[in-house]
Every structure is written in structure tokens, then in C-alpha cells.
Amino acid sequence: MRARWLALVAVVGCDPATNELGYGAALVIANAQFRPGGFPAATGGPDTVQVEGAASTTIGTFRARLHAVLAPDAEGAIIGLQGADGAWIIAAGQPDFDTPGQPSATATYGFDPSVAPGPQTILLAATDAAGRIGVPSTLEVVAGAAPVPEGDLVVGLAWESTADLDLHVIDPLGGEAWSDQPNTSPPAQPGVPADPSAYLGGGILDHDGNANCHLDNPANEHVIWRPRAGPNGDVAPVIPSGTYTVRVAARSLCRDAAAAWYVEVYARGVLLAAARGEAVPDDVSADQRAGAGVTALTFKRP
């Protein structure tokens, strides 16, 4: 049926651009027009004078930038990843201060999580007003996998959703690290002398993922015990013996109806425990406090 409609469109249509968003493409570029298919062959268009950008970027992040200087008759640029389907079209911008008369092309890009770690080649070809495509220039970029946080003990929560989830880790002494109190070490008590570096030995939350529904990519949080630099030298982590409790609290599901989450615990890089779960609307509570959420798992340390 759809083929028949497409045939009808072919009669009355006239080479419009695709409305595909390009989600899932190996290379994703912000504020650009997606162009399905392989990278186009050169057809006598303008040259790319120079292209530069970061030498490496982390897969799954969306922050790397590239910048190109194009030949004077260029009006646009096509950017793609060598060997991958899909490219992106951007309009050429104003010349840089130090290259007058030569249009520029600037883009922020990221690699899809499906891209294999390793060296990747970004192609950039200038185009002129007639749509002629120039010989592409290349930018070599090393795509790196997101590193697992290092530490003597790492408790991680990851989820793929817009939801604002919170990781709560409660140590055997009752100290709890979460977004409002990001350290398992108890805060200093008024009037009681305290070691000003003691807090560095606790499990510390690295960041508040998707805080206030502001999307991270990817969404995760970690509570980490590791040596930390203090004012009087490195402070060793203090990992109390006993049972640890890991809880997951849903502050808001934001734009999603549910959020699947994954909790894992590593001790010096070795997986100790893992659990999966799902946050649903009934789990959402505005009353976020210590002890909130559902228990994902417990584990013991000697």
C-alpha cells in the first residue's frame, strides 16, 4: 500500500529533502539537515581548505566540534563518517577573521553508542550554489568508550530515559550518599573537633544525573570510594565492613511513563553485584529524603 502512495508522490513531488531526523546514524550533527545514503561522490565542487577539530571524543557524548575553512565559492558543506550510511548538510558560515573571503563551516557532533571504539574518519566536502560537491577532506578522530569510573568501590546507577532518578548508597555505619547529601561520611558536628580531610575518605556521589529533567547523555550516577587528594596529601578511602544498601529513588519521570534502571557494584574493577528494575509513576515522590526509593540490592564488604 505504501509503495502505491509513494508512486503517487513521485508523480507530483519534486525532489524535496528528507524529514528523517537522522537518529541512530553513526555520526550525529546538531542543527543540520540529515542526508540519507552513503557519502556522495565528488562532482567538481569547491575545495575544503582546512578542517580541524578534537583528536578524540567519547562515544555517546555530544560535545565535539569541528571547524573548516572552505573555498570562496562554497555555500554549504556535507559531513559524514567514512563507511557509514547517512551524512549531514550545513550552510556555510561567515569567513573567519584570519581567512577573509573564505566561508567557514562549524559543527558540533557526537558518535552514536553503536559506533565501535577506535579511530574514525570524518569526511567533509564543500558544495557550491549549483550543488556541485568538492573532494572531501578528512578529520581523524579517535572514538573512545565511556570509561568506567575507577575506584576501590564503585556503585553505579545507569538508565536510558529522560527521568530524574537518584542513587542512594547506605554504608554499614548508616552514612548515606545521595544527591542532597553526596557523601557517606557524616558531616562534622558543631563543637566537635574533626579532621578536615576525613570527608574525602567517604563514598562520594560524582554527579546528579538528569537533574531537574535536564538530560545527561548517558544518564548515570556513581558513588565512589577512592583515594583523593587532600590538603595534607592523599586520603585513603574508608570502606566500613558490613552490609551496604543501594536504593533507587524516582524524583520525576519527566517525559517518560517509566524508566528502566541498572545498578552495578565494582570493587577495584571486579563486578560484585548487579540488579535491574523499573521506576513507574507510583515510585515518584516529591518527598525526597534519606532512605527514599526502592532497594535495588545489598552487598557485603569484609
Binding site: 507530483v12 543540520a32 562554497a74 554549504g76 556555510a92 560537491i133 517525559r255
Partner: protein, 388 residues
């Protein structure tokens, strides 16, 4: 009097449809290939002597199931003593409430009287939703038709204010026209409409100092030299701006023996800062006035008692002074939307089945050379409607 009207739309094909959600962050699905209740209207009308009141309710599933007041108005009229049988030809009619905006020829038409699925793009831009609250005096005297109105200036489909009146001023509008009978059941209807008013650019509340991280070396690690102090700013007051439009409409009606009624309708408008539905016109953010121009030309012809066909072309330039960077040069460009619609309808009593194919062009895509090009937006729609 109570009457009702139900309109069901089925879209079997839309080039613009995607199984995705809106990347702008609204979370709304981008799928357009679906069946929806476009309108479910219930209208209550009451008349006593020269007074009248009307309440029309609408239930639809266009953006999920919803119910709303479509129109609600009260009024008084003085009929021509020599022609009291025709309510439409009151010498004077004064009314106030939520009503179809009395501007031009197409906007004041109730959905149940239209054959083409949607209003032309330029009218969806200038008067989104077709309805606003205000007061109106209109009437007919001989061949003359007149209308003056003071409206809130906040159509229900306003992309920014959604029917909430943002400014204390009113949009003043009027139409002066004629309706001339022609031989053989023909008519010539024409008019000129004008609107002047004010829109509002929203201000911002005061902001606190903040830090911004600019990852200059792109290593993903915060360094002190990459932190930028963003000072807080005092509140910025809202600013109002003037908007206006002038519209010309002309319609020729005829009757062909064996076929029936037909009409050729032309309407066009030139406007300033009035786009509130398609490409929002805010002269404060653009630092210049935004000038719009649009028109539509429609042909409709009965094909006997049970069928009707139509053809319409509409074109809208949302910003006649738009500029864009093209390589080293800054050039004028056009934010032009156009739609060629082919429509056919079968009807029986008060029931209609309408099929329409829209071939649309727009400036949202980008060609290989970086220039604006049409993003696919053709659509096939079937509509079933019954009035009872």
C-alpha cells in the same frame, strides 16, 4: 435550537509523518498517519425577539482527547422590516463573546461549511484557530456589507499565548464589502478588511550570577580557565509592538445547469508582525519588522446533486525580508510555504465524504548546496462528516 456536527479525519499517507517524538522537547509524537476526531461540535442557539445567544462546544482528539468552548456569544440585531426571513441580512447585528474572527472572507466561516480541510497557510498564520474574544457590529444594507470589531488580539491557536490576551490593547478590525446578485443565480461578493493592533514580546525575570563551562580543549574535564562568570541581569520588561494587515477578498458564484453551484474565490493579505501561528513574527527579537504576504485561489464546482470537486492554491511568504548567509555573502531568501490542494467530495443530505491531496512546499529542508529546500510535507486526507 440544538444541532451537532461530527468530523472524522483519516490520514493514510503523510510525508511529514515520523514514528518519533518531537526533537524540540515537547514529547509530542510526530506520527500524522492516524484516525482522529477533528471536530465534534454541539451548538446551542437561543433567540428571543431581537436578542440571541450561542454556545458551541467542541470535542476532538487532535492533540489527545479534549473538550473546549469553541464559540460563545450573545447579541442583538435589527432585521430589515422588509426581509425578516433572512437572519443573515440584519441591518445591524451587535454581539460580544468568543467568536469567529470577523476578518476577510474565509476566517469567519464555520468548519461545517468548509470543503477544503484546512484554512490556507497565510490565514492559519495570521489568525491561528480562527477564533478570538471580542465585540463586533456588522450588518447589510442593500448591496453593502460592513463589519467593525474590537478583538482581544489573542486567537486561540496563537503559538505563544494560546488564546490568553497578552496586552491591554485591542485589535481593531473592519471589513467593508458588497454582495451583488448576478443573473442566473450568480453572485459577486467582495470586500476589503483591515486590522490594527499590538502584540507583546515577553520580558524576562531577573537572573542570578552563574558559572558557564566552555570546554575549550574538548577534553571533558573542567579546568579553572574554562569557567566563565555569567553575571546576573536585571529583569527585562516586556515590550509591545504594532501589528497590522490589509486583506482583499473576491468571490464569484455561478450556477451551471446540470452541474450546480460553483465558485471561484480569491483572497490575499499583506501584513506586518502578525504571524502568530506558522513562523512567529516577533520584531523585538528580530530587531526589525516582519512583513508577511499571502494569498489563496480556490475553485469549487458541484458535480450534480451528490458530488463536488475543488482545486486550491495558496502561497505564503512568512518573512519578505528574510536574509541568510550563503558562503561569503548575505543574501535575501524567502520563507515561502505553498500548497496545491485537490479535493473531491461525495455528499448525501447532510453527510459528506471528502478526499484531499495536498502537495506542499516549505523552506524547512536544506539542499546539498546548503540552501533552503522543501522538506517533504505532502499529505492525503479523507474526512467523513455528518451534521444533524
Amino acid at each position: 435550537m440544538l444541532d451537532a456536527f461530527v468530523q472524522i479525519d483519516a490520514v493514510p499517507y503523510s510525508q511529514h509523518s515520523l514514528d518519533e517524538v518531537d526533537p524540540a522537547g515537547t514529547g509530542m509524537p510526530l506520527n500524522e498517519e492516524s484516525v482522529a476526531v477533528r471536530h465534534g461540535l454541539v451548538r446551542l442557539e437561543a433567540k428571543r425577539e431581537n436578542y440571541f445567544a450561542e454556545l458551541e462546544l467542541d470535542g476532538n482528539t487532535v492533540k489527545g482527547p479534549s473538550a473546549r468552548i469553541l464559540t460563545s456569544q450573545v447579541g442583538w440585531r435589527y432585521l430589515d422590516p422588509d426581509d425578516t426571513d433572512h437572519d443573515d441580512n440584519a441591518l445591524v447585528r451587535a454581539r460580544a463573546g468568543l467568536m469567529l474572527i470577523p476578518f476577510g472572507a474565509l476566517v469567519p466561516n464555520n468548519a461545517r461549511d468548509r470543503y477544503f480541510m484546512e484554512q490556507p497557510t497565510f490565514l492559519r498564520a495570521l489568525f491561528p484557530g480562527d477564533i478570538d474574544a471580542g465585540a463586533n457590529v456588522d450588518g447589510a444594507y442593500g448591496l453593502v456589507r460592513y463589519s467593525v470589531a474590537a478583538m482581544n488580539g489573542a486567537p486561540v491557536g496563537d503559538a505563544q499565548w494560546a488564546g490568553r490576551d497578552p496586552s491591554s490593547s485591542y485589535d481593531l478590525m473592519g471589513r467593508f464589502g458588497t454582495d451583488i446578485p448576478l443573473p442566473h443565480h450568480g453572485r459577486f461578493v467582495a470586500g476589503i478588511s483591515v486590522v490594527i493592533g499590538r502584540g507583546l514580546h515577553p520580558g524576562t525575570p531577573p537572573t542570578k550570577d552563574s558559572l558557564q563551562w566552555v570546554d575549550e580543549n574538548q577534553d571533558g574535564i573542567v579546568q579553572v580557565t574554562e569557567l566563565v562568570d555569567v553575571p546576573g541581569s536585571p529583569a527585562i520588561p516586556s515590550q509591545s509592538f504594532s501589528h497590522d494587515a490589509i486583506d482583499l477578498d473576491a468571490t464569484v458564484h455561478w450556477c451551471v445547469k446540470g452541474l450546480g453551484h460553483g465558485q471561484l474565490q480569491l483572497e490575499g493579505a499583506i501584513a506586518k508582525n502578525l504571524d502568530r501561528g506558522v513562523v512567529y513574527a516577533d520584531p523585538v527579537t528580530r530587531s526589525r519588522d516582519v512583513r508577511e504576504l499571502g494569498f489563496s485561489l480556490a475553485l469549487e464546482q458541484d458535480l450534480g446533486a451528490f458530488a463536488l470537486a475543488g482545486l486550491r492554491y495558496d502561497r505564503y511568504d512568512a518573512d519578505r525580508d528574510a536574509i541568510e548567509q550563503a558562503g561569503v555573502a548575505t543574501v535575501y531568501t524567502h520563507e515561502v510555504f505553498s500548497t496545491l490542494s485537490v479535493m473531491a467530495s461525495a455528499r448525501f443530505h447532510t453527510a459528506r465524504l471528502i478526499g484531499q491531496y495536498d502537495h506542499a512546499t516549505n523552506p524547512f529542508g536544506r539542499a546539498d548546496n546548503g540552501e533552503p529546500i522543501t522538506l517533504r510535507a505532502d499529505k492525503l486526507i479523507f474526512r467523513a462528516q455528518v451534521e444533524f
